[in-house]
């Protein structure tokens, strides 16, 4: 294939009910970086219906051109209409790179597209860089995070990858940035629309599997009792974290077994693991020491948890947590 025919970095702009998802804005920032290295442009693929000022938002976050497809078929996500629209764009514009958020939508759409286009797709990348040969180097964890692999897609275009929310840094929007907005018309083949959405239900989900949580606030004996755990829940809520516990707390009936971290519970590898009042028995460490960043708070400065912690605070959990919760809430507000 003639790779010189393929240019520019394209980002799928995931919106839900008209609200652009953070992961799309994060990807625009990353795309900007990649495009600058390649001396190419960033294209945002904005799909939806009755769109308003979302295109301007894409420009503010780094897009040079927004390809806007506004059609009733795209009002809310279903696989086929979205796949058809993006497929048409890819065939028309020949991007070199396509980035998609690894959400339930992106992970439904990405592989369908890669098979339709017949190109490679690398899932859940944690690192994206341009090589000296101008190839996209896609790095992702393998074997449950024990090993990292860098993957290339040399002979096919576009190079596609999905990236989990929160992995890339969101840039600061610049309201004065200039960009072009192009409206794209898609001729849908409606005979392929074979899945009918009956109902979409939003529910408060506090039952995310702890192995899938990005941030875990985990409590141990030092938290003491159910009231102590309510403190941890409040803290977790301010940062969108899940709560988990050491075996001691599960055996005491404070939390259910599916929330237990450790050898007889679950192995977790969140981006941040808060070990609150957990001394760090070897069985517990086995379940969490691979976490990306470990913050431990414990009264006993000789507690083994401090051997694996990236940041350790010697202090009383019951005093630190309420203050921390306030400060976290304040930090979120400012943003």
């Amino acid at each position: 294939m003639d790779k010189s025919q393929y240019k520019n970095v394209f980002v799928f702009i995931e919106q839900r009910e008209g609200v652009i998802q953070n992961v799309a804005l994060e990807l625009l920032g990353k795309a900007r970086e990649l495009a600058d290295t390649l001396n190419e442009k960033v294209f945002a693929m904005l799909l939806g219906h009755n769109l308003t000022d979302q295109a301007q938002e894409c420009v503010a976050y780094g897009a040079d051109t927004v390809l806007r497809v506004d059609a009733p078929e795209l009002e809310s996500y279903t696989t086929e209409p979205y796949a058809q629209a993006i497929h048409q764009i890819v065939k028309t514009y020949n991007p070199s790179i396509v980035l998609i958020g690894a959400t339930t939508i992106g992970r439904d759409l990405g592989p369908r597209l890669s098979a339709r286009i017949e190109t490679g797709l690398t899932a859940d990348c944690t690192g994206l860089e341009i090589s000296d040969e101008r190839e996209l180097m896609m790095t992702r964890p393998a074997f449950g995070g024990n090993l990292m692999a860098t993957i290339l897609c040399k002979e096919h275009r576009p190079q596609m990858s999905t990236v989990r929310p929160g992995v890339m840094r969101m840039g600061k929007p610049d309201a004065n940035r200039q960009g072009t907005i192009e409206d794209v018309r898609v001729d849908f083949d409606k005979s392929k629309f074979r899945v009918r959405v009956v109902e979409t239900v939003k529910e408060k989900k506090d039952m995310i599997d702890i192995t899938e949580a990005h941030i875990l606030v985990s409590g141990g004996r030092g938290v003491g009792n159910p009231e102590g755990f309510d403190m941890l829940r409040a803290m977790a809520k301010t940062i969108g974290a899940e709560v988990s516990a050491s075996r001691a707390m599960v055996d005491a009936g404070v939390l259910a077994h599916d929330r237990q971290v450790g050898q007889t519970g679950k192995t977790v590898r969140p981006d941040v693991y808060f070990a609150m009042g957990i001394s760090g028995a070897i069985q517990h460490l086995a379940g969490m020491e691979e976490s990306e960043y470990i913050i431990a708070v414990n009264k006993d400065k000789y507690a083994p948890i401090f051997n694996v912690a990236d940041l350790g605070i010697v202090g009383d959990v019951r005093k630190v947590v309420p203050i921390l919760t306030e400060k976290l809430a304040a930090a979120r507000q400012k943003k």
Binding site: T79, R112, A115, G144, L152, Y293, F306, E326, R332
Partner: protein
């Protein structure tokens, strides 16, 4: 109704450890299991068999020892098991894998194809939707529950970040199942005994319908360029300070790492 369930044998990743000296994976003695999401998908199929007398075939691609999970599937109650094993299939990425499996499915009759959402050794969640595309079938991913009207229509509950969605789809179609949606049955004692007498069909390239250029290593657009272990952790910082200062240190660290 004919159902084909695609399953995979995976190392129990929760059991994998790194050699602290060399930093390489220790795979010796790591047990192999049927991928959990696939097992959930198999349970959905077996429930349709219980209720509607569906015929259930399981298919897996892998080395000869992957036979173990096919025996397990027999013991759970499937009717037919196929092992896709050929040197030509080896070294495949997700696209080449999906081409191989789709090639086998073309040689089978099906109304419904079920895969797991993702395998715990790769976590890509790609092969199911890619199979659906190759076979020009509608897909419903992240399936937590499904009901069949006994005619041709499925009402499916699929999980999303915000809650769930109820969708309808007619057979033929592809579902990717979540392990969390369903509790797989245990193998019955009789099933286990009988599983060893059941015939596992081994299929190679000549049994399936696919372009040879689209499978195996040569049919894989993506290649692993290098793999490496994350560097050993540097010693952390420990602070003995009052609670307010401690909270500030934590908040600043989270900001620095773009967590908040």
């Amino acid at each position: 109704m004919k159902i084909v369930v695609c399953i995979k044998q995976v190392p129990d990743t929760t059991e994998i450890k790194l050699d602290p000296v060399t930093g390489t994976l220790i795979r010796d003695g790591v047990p192999s299991i049927m991928n959990p999401d696939d097992k959930g998908g198999l349970e959905f199929a077996l429930r349709l068999k219980d209720q509607y007398g569906a015929h259930v075939t399981v298919i897996t691609m892998g080395p000869p020892q992957a036979e173990a999970i096919l025996r397990e599937a027999f013991a759970m109650g499937v009717d037919r098991a196929i092992l896709l094993s050929d040197r030509k299939f080896a070294g495949a990425d997700t696209l080449a894998t999906s081409n191989t499996i789709a090639g086998a499915l073309r040689a089978l009759e099906y109304d419904v194809i079920i895969t797991g959402r993702q395998a715990i050794d790769g976590d890509t969640a790609q092969v199911g939707p890619q199979i659906a595309e190759h076979l020009d079938l509608p897909q419903v991913t992240y399936v937590e529950d499904l009901k069949y009207d006994g005619q041709k229509t499925f009402t499916v509950k699929r999980t999303t970040e915000e809650g769930y969605q109820i969708v309808e789809v007619d057979a033929p179609c592809v579902f990717t199942a979540l392990a969390s949606g369903v509790k797989p049955r245990y193998m019955s004692v009789r099933g286990i005994v009988e599983a060893y007498d059941k015939d596992i069909e081994v299929w190679g390239f000549n049994n399936i319908t696919v372009d040879e250029k689209k499978i195996g290593l040569s049919g894989s657009p993506t290649r692993v360029f290098k793999s490496f272990t994350k560097g050993a952790k540097a010693a952390g910082q420990i602070y003995e300070v009052d609670p307010a200062e401690a909270a500030d240190i934590i908040v600043n660290k989270l900001k620095e790492k773009f967590i908040i």
